[in-house]
Amino acid sequence: MKAIEKFIKTITFWEILKGLKLTFSTMLTKPVTRLYPIERPVIPPVFRGLHAMRRHPDGSEMCIACGLCAAYCPTGCIKIKTSEGPDHKKKLDTYEIELLKCLFCGYCVEACPVRALTMTQEYELADYSKEKLVYTREKLLANGERYRGKETHLD
């Protein structure tokens, strides 16, 4: 019995027909691939894209310069310099994230005690030089502004 069944399957190219069934049935459905970049995906708010630094509603920066994000970052790509500001307050001098090293794990965001750092839906980060991929405080704040009022990773 087995032998006959095998013989028939062989001469009718059964396996191929079986495979083509999927091909032909898919031909009739709507495509799932997108014509990126003409067609753009919908990114969920919890997406871990480019970091952003946030400002308080009054415009002042939220970051208190604690450096915990840098401590937590598994690749050590966050570099912070701080100093004593007016009134002996802690002041953020420079803040840099070297995106080429970043894993987008979001640990930095988890670490931030004041939710000053978040991640956004930005993902098109390619650039022509390594230097440009070191995101400074200004760039990150600008990204934060872009997302002001929008839902992000944190919310």
Partner: protein, 898 residues
Amino acid sequence: MINIKINGIPLSLEKPTNIIEAAAKVGVHVPHFCYHKELSIYAGCRICMVEVKGKPKLLPACATAVSDGMEIITESEKIAKSRRGVLELQLTHHPLDCPVCDKGGECSLQDYVFRYGADRSRFIEKKREIPVNYENPLIERNMERCVSCKRCVRICAEVQGDWVLSDMNRGSRVTMESFCGSEEECVHCGHCLSNCPVGAIQSRLTKNQVRPWFVEREAETVCPYCGDGCTLYLQSRENTILRALSDETYTKGSNRGSLCVRGRFGYDFPNNPERLKTPLIKKNGSFVEASWDEAISLVAERFGRIKSSAGPDAIGAVIGGRNTNEEAYLLQKFMRAAVGTNNIDNMARMGHINALTALEDAFGLGGMTNQIKDIAQSGAVLLIGNDAAAENPITGLAVKRAVFKKGAKLIVADAGKNSMSKHAALRLTYKPGTHGRLIEAMVNVIFDEGLQDKAVEEKNKVLFGRINVAYAHNTPEKAQETTGVPAEDIRKAARSFASAPAASIVFGKGVTASVCGYEDSLALADLSLITGNVGRSGGGVNPMAGKAGEQGACDMGALPDRLPGYRKVASDEDRKRLGSLWKTEIPKTAGLTVMEMLVAAAEGRVQALYVVGSDPAFELPDRKRTADALSKTKFLVVQDVFMSDTAALADVILPAATFAEKEGTFTNSERRVQRIRPAMKVLAGARPDGEIISLISGKMGRPMDWEPSLVMDKISVSTPIYAGITYDLLESGGVQWPYYEEMKSGTAILHSQGYDDRRAAKGEEIAAKVAAARSVKDDIKEGYPFFADIAVSLYHSGTTTRKSKGPNLVVGGPFAALNPADAKGLGIGEGDTVKVRSRSGFLRLPAKLDAGVPQGIVHIPNHFLGAGCNVLTEVILDPVNKVPEARYWPVSIEPEGR
């Protein structure tokens, strides 16, 4: 033997100790706030509670001594509950602002809260609001974060001996404040901040700048300032020194966890933007930047030309106290082997050399006989001519420890201000320059009253006889006339010194930097000898080096009449031995001392000078004469890290590396050879001194290895006292020379097996030298009723501290401190300008009133550009070692109003 079990781990102990220390031995950490092994037990924080089998209640691990058969449990649910309770009580008030607290990441409270999960308190009370105290320029105190462990209070009192802090208020309102609300007594040692387990006391220099995870590199190294040679940790990030830390284990080096303000807060000069970054060549009177090739070729070529036209002796070199042993060795080798002259000297010529040669003549080996920590074992300490608390603060701590812990009688003998006076049982204030008579009178009293060590006398009858005769003329009554010290006080001092079971002598530039420095150092050696204190623990004769590299430079033979290891240039055998190692002939005639080189330079006999890491124009007496000689020098090469008075006169300036950028070793006063290690890369454009010297030497046809570890290998072959010392050996800590390979140990106390009195052998020669020393007369006092005490400030060292932020925040400029009675007599008030005038010049300085300054003295810290005390002084040399008189100088004081 005490056999105990800690968490089931068996442990046998020789000596009883508390549970915390016992647990640490088996690697178990018992949480604690108020316990610290250097301090008395307070047992106030209650976080250290542990279970002991058979005891119904938990016991404090810090205050419970282990006893045989004890079974201790350090972690259990019961213990955790108790600790959580303690933490909750702490958190009632604690602000928990860890994200902006500098202690975050290295804070005991944070760690314990994390460990026991007590992250919030059930006790709701209004949090304390206490303003942060910023009165101290270097240290901030944030009492909201204090856990009331009182470690700061205790360390300031028990270790530092300054009693600045105390606990104010009661109960939950307790805060640690300076005792009378004034920070005046604080010496900024930073013991309190290094000892605070939480973030309540912090350095203001690093405030908001450092996180433990910012540190990229940490180096265990040695403080570059004074001769105490403290172990220090430098942490850096991106080639910038972040901070200096002391040893947390309180075990290493001579300082064992302590530091003074210079070491702890004077670390940032390597990053000062004023560092010299490129070789400079003087062309038509102004400096032009040059490449290293150009500069080195020029130096080699000019040295070569001068050598062939005027002979090798027309070239001289001086090395300062900031350079490593290896660099001093290379420089003297360069001078002797490549140039072919013995004209090499170092800045120990300003005093320390007198002590070394005197001790060598008295005992056979020139060097501090005991070690710094050993001073703490003394029953009596004679501190003479050295303000240990300012000049050599860690030695000062050892002296204080002897006083506090051993009840030692401290005799402070000084002509000027001495901050150790407040701990003294007896303070002898002698007239400047008369310390020799004082010491002689003490020896006199000891013989007179039969207080000498009889057992030692038995063995050294002849020597004792000679000493007795030598000092017989100087009775206390006579000494009272010359020194101004009451005869009765001299007697008292002699008695307490001689009757102590072990008595040590600590002295410094007040004795050595004078025309009788050699002779008076010998007298101190005699005093120690007749009381049987030589070779005894807690005794000895201990000269203090002013700079980190001074002792080493002498050991390395950077001296005109000595080869490495104090071998003599005059000895054919020593020269041959070294010559065969170097495959060259060592020049036979002794070279010139730095003072003589300057005279020779002014006269044109010396045409080229190579000045490494020092600033003779600022440091040597008689500014005009020195500057004149330096500018007359045809070719002056200065190798340093900053522009200096001397560098400004140079023909070529070679930018060198600082201690934080290089490998090497320093030998401290107590003969301890210790490694320094780089915490950052060599500043772009600068080079380590060793490399520079070897480049010049190579260009002159004598290549030398400069890799510090290789140089040390050579040193251990050519310098007998350093035999067997290698970098591998020094890896785990310093070694005190002489090192004995057979026993694998250095020598903590010299002469414990007896000594070799060289004076007996060459009595005549030495007697003549001593006689010559006495004959130098002081006829410059006429019309100058005061003495300027040209002093070392606790806060400064010279070229490098000037460029460090910390020390300058406390003492940022020169001043003239006067006794209030003198000031009143002259109508001078605090802050008034005074003109301090001597025969040769004057200084205008703001006046300070200070009751610690004896009458007739004006105390001037000699560190500040534009206020160098060498405008006041002239050159008077001691006849033995050509050490210039440089500590006390007759001056007059004229008030100039505000």
